[in-house]
């Protein structure tokens, strides 16, 4: 097969950069789920902590997508 790929290398960079936050968010919610499974009554407290951690980890991926478009 003799094809060519067009597009910006930025997008590959963004795909690689998204791996880290992806793993991070997975770990955060894994910890949240096992925490709730062990202690269901702690759900309310854990939920806001989990969402806070999710938001902080996700910011990295979001900065990545911003830069992928900004740095042409």
């Amino acid at each position: 097969m003799n094809g060519e790929i067009n597009g910006s290398l930025n997008m590959i960079g963004y795909g690689l950069a998204a791996i880290g936050p992806g793993i991070g968010i997975g770990l955060i919610f894994a910890a949240y789920i096992s925490g709730v499974a062990r202690q269901p009554e702690a759900r309310g407290v854990l939920q806001s902590i989990a969402i806070l951690g999710f938001a902080l980890a996700e910011a990295l991926a979001i900065i990545g997508i911003g830069l992928a478009f900004a740095l042409n």
Binding site: M1, G3, E4, I5, N6, G7, G44, V45, S48, I51, L52, F54, A55, L56, E58, A59, I62, I63, I65, G66, F69
Partner: protein, 264 residues
């Protein structure tokens, strides 16, 4: 495989949507200033104001349906954002937090409302202004609570650390509180909406292109899948949009709580 596989014989090929999707010309032609995002902000704000006014107009002990909905939404901000993140002193800041939450939720949800379908918050100006307001508020609260010197001392020199570390830590803490916090608030909201809207536009335009331009059995089948996928993604976007409004408000509340706390 080349992306031009999708091109129709002699056609232009599919051009995937880019950042230019977010640029709208003025509605009333060149020289005027009113654009679609601005119109969404104005109408959305008016909508919240009218709904909240109607919900609280004849407030009674036994609430009507409208009053119940309005009070539940306000109560959500009060209980699961202000009280959870700040505690008892947070009651003072519920009006600001509720305003931010309702404003952002409406502007975000505009992204999946039929016929409107543009999240106004994907234009960076709106989240930026709100993040700057939040930043000014939590710094002002901290300075009011601890005094100017005390606030910056608490922020930059947390106790219990050997002193040489402060050379490194103090500038980092300062930059992270004054600059990084509003910046991440802005970027998180903006690019969540930006990316979500872009994905929706890509699925819908791509599906339309596959069905009507590429056509054939393969095109129609793939296009149908893309259009159905766009429906699922719309529901997912609605979830993300509410979540992001919640996250913005929760982080603002946590920063206020941090500024109020006696020790960092």
């Amino acid at each position: 495989m080349s992306t031009s596989v999708l091109a129709v014989e002699g056609g232009e090929g599919f051009v995937s949507p880019g950042p230019s999707t977010f640029v709208y010309p003025p509605i009333f032609g060149e020289g005027t200033f009113l654009t679609k995002p601005m119109l969404i902000v104005i109408l959305g704000s008016a909508l919240i104001a009218v709904l909240m006014f109607l919900a609280t107009r004849r407030a009674s002990v036994v609430p009507s349906k409208g009053q119940f909905v309005g009070e539940s939404l306000y109560g959500f901000v009060r209980n699961s954002i202000a009280l959870d993140a700040i505690g008892k002193p947070g009651m003072k800041y519920v009006p600001y937090l509720a305003t931010v939450f309702f404003f952002l939720a409406t502007m975000n949800i505009a992204g999946i409302v039929p016929l409107v379908q543009f999240p106004a918050t994907s234009r960076i100006a709106f989240p930026l202004i709100l993040a700057v307001i939040s930043c000014v508020i939590f710094n002002a609260i901290g300075i009011k609570r601890h005094g100017l010197g005390g606030y910056f001392k608490d922020m930059m020199f947390p106790p219990g650390i050997p002193w040489p570390v402060y050379i490194l830590l103090a500038p980092i803490e300062f930059v992270s509180t004054i600059i990084i916090r509003p910046l991440t608030l802005t970027l998180r909201l903006t690019f969540n909406m930006f990316a979500g809207h872009l994905v929706l536009v890509l699925f819908i335009l791509g599906g339309e292109y596959l069905i009507f331009e590429y056509s054939g059995v393969v095109g129609i089948a793939a296009g149908t899948v893309a259009i159905l996928g766009s429906l699922i993604l719309t529901a997912f976007e609605g979830f993300v949009q509410l979540l992001q409004a919640y996250v913005f408000t929760l982080l603002s509340a946590l920063y206020i709580g941090g500024a109020l706390a006696d020790e960092h």
